[in-house]
């Protein structure tokens, strides 16, 4: 499908026109007719029959056929338990190559005619299948949980369905799901949050960073008691891809001297700027930052403390920066930078 689209786009750019090109006005009418037809279908069998017919007629008359394919697929999404034959028909459409092209709804359209498939048949078929699959997997999960069947649970390889089930599972079901020991980081994260399982959370955050792990990390301050969350966020074995986010997440913990100390201790390291931003989010950290600037334990810590004041929306922080910029004992380059901020 993409190859065909690309070829057509290239052809249009070279000044030609695709064989399957249709203007928008023709599309509007085709979709209207197809939508009415799809809605009027009394049952799944009728819709399935129309899929077949439309697919065949797409060869000779692609515009109305593709409109009907699309509308019929959408209507079929409502089927609860589709027949095997219907499913096969939809599966066959997931690699459908579009025949009809039109202008993109593109504000740059005047620039030379970016032409795209008029109907996303394959994508719509994917969506229909996914809706069916997920419903089936959710049902299977519920059934397996009711039976306490660990092996059946493990056989259901659908992380999204798992996550949805985890969101509504009882405590006993959660423990069963935990025992199934899914390797999916999204599932593990969801379980860690629902169960308050620090061990599981730690494992996820020590493994190579994933979007799901980042979601878990962002949820820790609310999901765990502050001291527990601090331990997880300040774990020295955290994957490097999580470290900046972990420092920033610390700013959402209930303020404490321990959290402040953890952030101050990290000011001079590779993620010190993230510590600085976390510290900047609470003016109660201002006195400690002032001490860092006065003591200047090392150049990096000094710079990050200055950044923290720069980011802190607080008059006291600004006053400290102003004093720094006028202090001839401070490094000239830093004073110049700070003066720039104050302007």
């Amino acid at each position: 499908m993409r190859l065909c689209a690309a070829a057509c786009i290239a052809f249009i750019w070279s000044g030609g026109a695709c064989a399957g090109y249709v203007p928008r006005s023709a599309l509007d009418e085709a979709v209207r007719i197809a939508a009415v037809t799809a809605k009027s279908a009394p049952d799944e069998s009728t819709l399935a029959a129309r899929l077949d017919a439309a697919r065949l007629s797409a060869v000779s008359d692609p515009l109305p056929a593709e409109a009907e394919l699309q509308q019929t697929l959408l209507r079929l999404r409502e089927a609860i338990a589709p027949q095997a034959a219907t499913r096969m028909q939809v599966e066959a459409l997931t690699d459908y190559s579009p025949q009809t092209y039109t202008d993109a709804l593109d504000d740059e359209r005047a620039r030379g005619g970016l032409t795209v498939p008029a109907f996303e048949i394959a994508a719509t078929a994917r969506g229909t299948l996914r809706r069916w699959d997920k419903a089936a997997h959710r049902a299977a999960l519920v059934s397996a949980l009711r039976r306490g069947d660990l092996e059946a649970l493990r056989a259901i390889d659908d992380a999204a369905a798992w996550r949805e089930q985890i969101a509504v599972a009882s405590d006993a079901e959660l423990l069963l799901l935990r025992s199934a020991d899914s390797a999916d980081p999204g599932v593990r994260s969801a379980l860690a949050l629902r169960l308050g399982d620090t061990s599981l959370a730690r494992d996820v955050l020590r493994a190579p960073a994933t979007p799901a792990g980042l979601t878990l990390l962002a949820a820790l301050p609310e999901a765990f008691e502050s001291t527990v969350a601090l331990t997880l966020l300040n774990d020295p074995d955290l994957d490097s891809g999580y470290r900046s986010a972990a420092r920033l997440a610390m700013s959402r913990l209930v303020w404490s001297a321990e959290t402040q100390q953890a952030l101050l201790a990290g000011l001079g390291d590779a993620d010190g700027a993230s510590s600085a931003q976390a510290l900047a989010r609470d003016p109660r950290n201002l006195p400690a930052l002032r001490r860092i600037i006065a003591d200047a334990p090392d150049d990096l810590s000094l710079r990050r403390a200055l950044l923290a004041l720069h980011w802190m929306e607080d008059a006291g922080a600004s006053a400290t920066l102003a004093a720094f910029s006028h202090d001839p004992a401070q490094p000239a380059s830093l004073r110049a930078e700070v003066s720039q901020w104050l302007r």
């Binding site: 499908m1 993409r2 689209a5 690309a6 290239a10 750019w13 599309l27 509007d28 979709v31 699309q70 509308q71 959408l74 999404r77 039109t102 993109a104 709804l105 593109d106 504000d107 740059e108 005047a110 620039r111 030379g112 970016l114 032409t115 795209v116 498939p117 008029a118 109907f119 996303e120 394959a122 994508a123 719509t124 994917r126 969506g127 996914r130 809706r131 999204a160 949805e164 999204g186 960073a209 979007p211 799901a212 980042l214 962002a218 891809g241 470290r243 900046s244 986010a245 920033l248 997440a249 993620d271 700027a273 993230s274 931003q277 710079r303 200055l306 950044l307 720069h310 930078e337 720039q340």
Partner: protein, 643 residues
Amino acid sequence: MAALSRVTAALLFSVTATAAAQVLTLTEDSYGDTLVPLGYPVPLPVDSQTPVDGFRRYAALQARLDELALSSDSIREQTIGQTLAQRPITAVQLSDADALTAEGFAEPAALINGGIHAREWGSPEVVAALVEHYAERQNDGGLYRYLLDNLNLIVIPVLNVDGFLQTQRYPDTFLQTEYSGDPTPADLSAEPAEYRNYPRDGRFRRKNMRNVDETLCAAGSTGCVADGMLGVDLNRNNTHAFASGNQNSNASGSLVYHGVSAASEPEIQALYAAGNLGPAARLRLYVDTHTFSRVYYGVNTGRTRRDALARALAQRMSAATGGVDRYPYNPTPAGQGIGSTDERFAYDYQIPAYTLELEPSANGGSDYGSFGYHHDGFVLPASEIARVREEITAANTVGLYRMAGPPSLIAAQVRRVDSDLLVYDARWMRDGSTRALTQFGDGNLEPGVAYRLWLAFNKPMRWRDPQTQAITQFIGQSIDLAPQIALTGRDAGGAAFSFALATTAEGWRATPPGTSAGCLRYADDAYQVVFTLPTGSPAIEARRLQLAVTATDFTGQALDTNPATVADWAGGWANYEDDAGRADTDVGGSDRTLVLVDDGSSAAAGGSGGGGSVGLGSSLTLLLAAWLRRQRAQKSRGKPRLQ
């Protein structure tokens, strides 16, 4: 930029949507009346300063830039304006402190913009990645140091700050509406029909926040203002072709509302202010980064050379992403326009200027297995952005490197291998706004003696694989990795000769300047070979003997054949001579300016010779005495080096 969407699903949605205006929620694969299943996880902003598999929250992204600026002498932040909500708009300047190239000429500039359209989250990530990439490599002594020293690069990661924050405020929620469902604009007829039933606000806000509050609100809701359609399309608010073409609207609710007047919006004024940091007259490249459709939109201004160079450059940049046609070039015909930023920079400065549409392709989220929602192309899966960052950083690097200027051969030395004795030394030195050649040595070569030839250029000429340290093609480029070196001239009897020099390559020089057989200024700006002339070679005791060097930079840009006149940009390359000595062809050629033995017959053999005789007569005389003194000193010390 591109409010690109597939017709299909837009129309489908008009069938299934019941209300004229709806607040909808993106989901991975959950279905419902107000749910829009994408087919992949919905990315949420990540509170991380460092790059992640995802899209960073604005505050963290900005903090990252602050940190990089504070920790590097080559990175500075400039406040270039304020948004309507009085938030600062920040440009990052990547450059050394002076405005001069390493040779002392006026530095060129480039401007790369991001985040003009709020919902195009890939853009700030990609533009910020350029800053991060260069910051990490600023002390590489090679390509990146060269770019920082010789170019004033201005980068705006997020221009439409207010709008971007609005999309991050509602990362999975948006207002979609048909026009009739929202406040009716004064001039409904001005709205192009295809912009109806579009997502307008929340995650899919495109415009700035003029006359818009931060609440997402459908018409008919109580307790909030249904202002989601308002705002100005900043990519229609520009001074060139303002309110022109059919992709504009003067209706304030339109997705492509151009505003009350050209450059009325503070964001656009800030963009122009950023260009002035160049300064504007020194700009050579502009890239406005958008999503989606994977294309370099461009502008033909009607100047043939500029237009051809802009096309060639786009193709080079595209190649760095994985193929010449991966990001095809698609320029607006000359004379047409829509009021976009690339048009403004293209016409006002006659430079290559692009609207770069990141991936996905025009197929939208289908490229990643989406379920076909018409605007899913604006929601790049989090798992894809790291790759896109890398690809576009490579593409931008190609553009910056190429527009930094064509290569010139600016120094050469010939030494005997056995004694390291310098027999020829030449260097083009800045002389005001031009270069003057100084060269000394008798240049007479003996048969059967091995000589080492060292050639140095005004830019790093090759790319070195960071892992293996081997010279290799820069991503997507394809060039001859070794220069071609020939000797031309007239033999002892006066007959013309020209032959390729048989050499043993010692390769591009990565060792620092000043070290044995090192580079001139930057890693891989110099190349070294060993050669031996056989008895009977016409070059032995030649009346005239000159080098002919053919090489390209790593993007395939050939040598300026006359280094005396320094190449610059003037709607095409100026002073960039070809083999015929013409400076209006933009192709360059072979350098024949270095004359080892001079019989006074300028460019007697092998082409124009360019500026081969510039400054030679007087400087040769003046330097001969110094060279002889140095030779004596070298002999007394054993194996001297001049580098």
